[in-house]
């Protein structure tokens, strides 16, 4: 009898739109927005939504995390790889507060998310009810938009708005808090997609005079440098960037989050910017005559001391967010547009000759960096393996075509520096927030976002232990993620700062680690450890050849520092090679 009713329910579901529960309306809104994957964790205040989900399992796959933070980070990477907003469900109170780190991360890194948090029934709001937290107040500073739904009639419209806001303009996370009574009450359902909000201008109108001014600077430049940020990837402007560069012969440097928007083996690619980026593009930032910054925000990790940043250059800044113009760096031409639009318009009018002298200076700087740093790290002859070698080997064996998800710390910088990205949009890392523990759940989300991709996660021994419970997701959903932990028995990046700036007083950075191989084995995932250089190649090969998830702990040098480095407070041109 029960079963029959359920089947009938599913049968008529798409047709019947009358008297639906709020939970059912919410779930149908997701289907309407072409959501196919949800990351989440159940609890009291979201139970009606999970109950509605039960009837939609054929169209909505739910991935059960083991901690809400894991769910958000997975959703973030899913969003960045699939180019669709990542969706999460959590319960109220602790379930909801557990997403805050992910929201802050997504907000700084412009990642579209729609997070649905359950809330106590509207009658209890403000009464300190069981598991009531003020999620609107808590999430306000770290969301692009948030809204509390207390009435079933609001659901469809608010959901449509949430998706529109999350993905349009400069993308960002949206949080929708929905009270339990609104999930249970019924209403008639009608969905209308949102494409306009009168107080929101996602696509500002481009000022043609600024475009002309930009083109003039670009065409007149003798020593130009282009800084490519994540805006290229977010707007899907990889082709336009390539065309621009080939037309103008302007060298390209990437920010951390811009990595993979331009192939690293292109003759005009000159490396990564920032604190631990490549020597040439940092030094030459203070040598160029025109700096063209596209879809990046002059983060302090990129600029070093802003008082000594590119003072000699005319600066063109292309960004979709007007509040980024002239925020950290005063610019000469501010082009308010997304990268794709701006570059495709510029491509009609820009040109440029080869700049052999200028390119040679990058090559010379690279040689210097190679001799002083790269050779010692990526081709180390020391007894213990250096994490740079690990990344270089993975890069070679995957031909730079895997999706690389790094964590935070030295492992992140080694990943960014030594992986040769050949395919667009293949790097996932926590840039603005630098969230340890991001890497592993991100790899899960990336794999779900692109089922056919080879996904490699590289974490440190510290960060891995912040979210390692998500190994259970990898096992549960048979995701063939390749997990590397470069174990230096230290919170390496902080140890490096103690080494350089705190008189080698190594306060609380040594880690007394568990047996990682045993732990991962406990999750039912094949796990190996390698500590000798002569076995590294084969160990990585075995990992990459495995059709399943695979964990490899690489025991690395404990006291190696990531170089070169722009010491905080100094200028990009004072970058240290040793």
């Amino acid at each position: 009898m029960e079963v029959a009713t359920k089947t009938q329910n599913t049968d008529t579901m798409s047709k019947n739109t009358n008297h639906l529960s709020g939970a059912e309306i919410l779930v149908r809104s997701l289907v309407e927005e072409k959501v196919d994957s949800i990351f989440g964790y159940i609890g009291g205040a979201i139970m009606p939504v999970y109950d509605a989900l039960y009837d939609h399992q054929d169209e909505l796959q739910h991935y059960q995390a083991r901690h809400e933070q894991g769910a958000v980070h997975a959703a973030q990477a899913y969003a960045r790889i699939s180019k669709k907003p990542g969706v999460c469900f959590t319960t109220s109170g602790p379930g909801a507060t557990n997403v805050l780190t992910g929201l802050a991360d997504a907000y700084l890194d412009s990642t579209p998310l729609v997070i649905i948090t359950g809330q106590v029934a509207s009658g209890f709001l403000g009464s300190d009810a069981f598991q009531e937290t003020n999620m609107i107040g808590l999430s306000m500073p770290v969301t692009k938009w948030n809204f509390q739904i207390t009435k079933v009639e609001e659901i469809a419209e608010v959901m449509a708005k949430a998706f529109y806001i999350a993905r349009s303009g400069r993308p960002g996370p949206v949080l929708i808090d929905i009270t339990k009574d609104a999930q249970i009450a019924t209403a008639d359902y009608k969905y209308k997609k949102c494409d306009f909000i009168r107080s929101y201008q996602p696509m500002p109108e481009l000022d043609m005079s600024q475009l002309e001014a930009a083109a003039e600077l670009i065409n007149g430049a003798k020593k130009p440098l282009l800084l490519a940020g994540q805006g290229i990837l977010l707007s899907g402007a990889e082709k336009e960037l390539m065309e621009f560069v080939e037309k103008t012969k302007i060298p390209v440097a990437c920010t951390l989050l811009g990595l993979s928007c331009f192939p690293t083996d292109h003759p005009l690619y000159v490396g990564m910017l920032g604190m631990h980026g490549n020597y040439g593009p940092n030094i030459n930032t203070n040598e160029c005559d025109v700096l063209i910054a596209v879809g990046m925000r002059f983060d302090d990790r990129v600029t070093g001391d802003t008082a000594k940043y590119a003072k000699q250059a005319k600066i063109v800044h292309i960004d979709i967010d007007p509040s980024e113009h002239n925020k950290n760096i005063k610019v000469d031409v501010a082009l308010l547009a997304d990268a794709k639009q701006a570059l495709s318009l510029l491509n009609k009018v820009v040109r440029g000759a080869e700049k052999p002298q200028w390119m040679k200076s990058f090559k010379d700087f690279y040689q210097l960096e190679f001799d002083k740093v790269i050779k010692k790290q990526a081709y180390s002859k020391k007894e213990n393996i250096n994490m740079a070698e690990v990344v270089r080997t993975v890069s070679e064996q995957t031909n730079g075509e895997a999706i690389l998800c790094s964590d935070v710390g030295q492992n992140q910088m080694a990943s960014a520096r030594y992986y040769e990205f050949k395919r667009p949009n293949t790097q996932i890392t926590s840039g603005g927030l630098g969230t340890m523990g991001f890497g592993l759940p991100a790899a899960i989300g990336a794999q779900i976002g692109d089922k056919n991709a080879k996904v490699v996660s590289i974490s440190g021994d510290g960060g891995f232990q912040m979210t390692l419970q998500e190994l259970a997701m990898i096992r549960q959903y048979n995701l063939p993620v390749k997990i590397i932990v470069v174990n230096n028995s230290f919170l390496g990046m902080v140890r490096q700062w103690q080494d350089l700036f705190f008189d080698q007083r190594f306060s609380c950075t040594k880690l007394d680690n568990p047996d990682f191989v045993k732990i991962v084995d406990g999750y039912g995932i094949e796990a190996k450890r390698v500590s000798k250089r002569e076995n590294l190649d084969a160990a990585i090969k075995e990992m990459l050849d495995s059709p399943n998830a695979y964990f490899l702990e690489v025991v690395v040098e404990t006291e190696s520092n990531v170089l070169p480095m722009i010491v905080p407070g100094t200028s990009v041109s004072e970058m240290r090679l040793e």
């Binding site: 107040g137 306000m140 500073p141 009168r198 107080s199 967010d321 007007p322 509040s323 113009h325 925020k327």
Partner: protein
């Protein structure tokens, strides 16, 4: 540090005031005065915010406010670009201390007596903060029971025509 008057137009939505003030508080900027009320267009709120900050900061603050979904526009002004006023209400006890001085005092300050109760008077003055303060101080010896003043409201002297801008918005939706 310089004084700026910031005018914001927004939807009349729950939480927007909070979002706008966060822009100031996260930079540790104190808001000197804040007035929010319906603008000439129904459903659109007009904020007048007065705050001291470094010259370099105000431009970005205004852009950060404009970025909030629900905000139509945020504009900053320096003192000479606006006409502005505040309202002060002063309640004083009727006593023999007044001695007939009151009327002259009120007139000299361009204030007026708004209400007379059985044992109190309410005086109203519209003007600059300093002038309202002066009146309050001069009345103090007579026994001020309450002193309330509004935040600033301001209108720009430039040509910008917000009424038609806002009406355009209302029609567009």
């Amino acid at each position: 540090m310089q004084e700026y008057t910031i005018t914001v137009f927004s939807e009349n939505n729950i939480g927007l005031l909070n979002e706008i003030t966060i822009v100031f508080s996260r930079r540790k900027i104190n808001i000197e005065s804040l007035t929010v009320s319906e603008s000439e267009v129904k459903g659109v709120s007009r904020y007048t915010i007065v705050a001291f900050m470094d010259e370099g900061k105000v431009e970005n603050i205004v852009l950060q406010i404009e970025k909030i979904i629900g905000v139509f526009k945020a504009i900053y002004f320096e003192a000479e670009e606006i006409v502005h006023q505040e309202v002060a209400l002063i309640k004083i006890a009727i006593s023999n201390k007044l001695n007939g001085n009151l009327e002259a005092l009120v007139r000299n300050h361009n204030a007026r007596i708004l209400t007379v109760g059985p044992d109190f008077l309410v005086i109203e003055r519209v003007g600059y903060k300093a002038g309202n303060q002066e009146l309050f101080q001069e009345l103090e010896p007579y026994g001020v029971l309450q002193f309330a003043r509004s935040g600033r409201v301001a209108i720009s002297t430039s040509q910008k025509d917000f009424t038609s801008y806002l009406k355009g918005l209302a029609e567009a939706s």
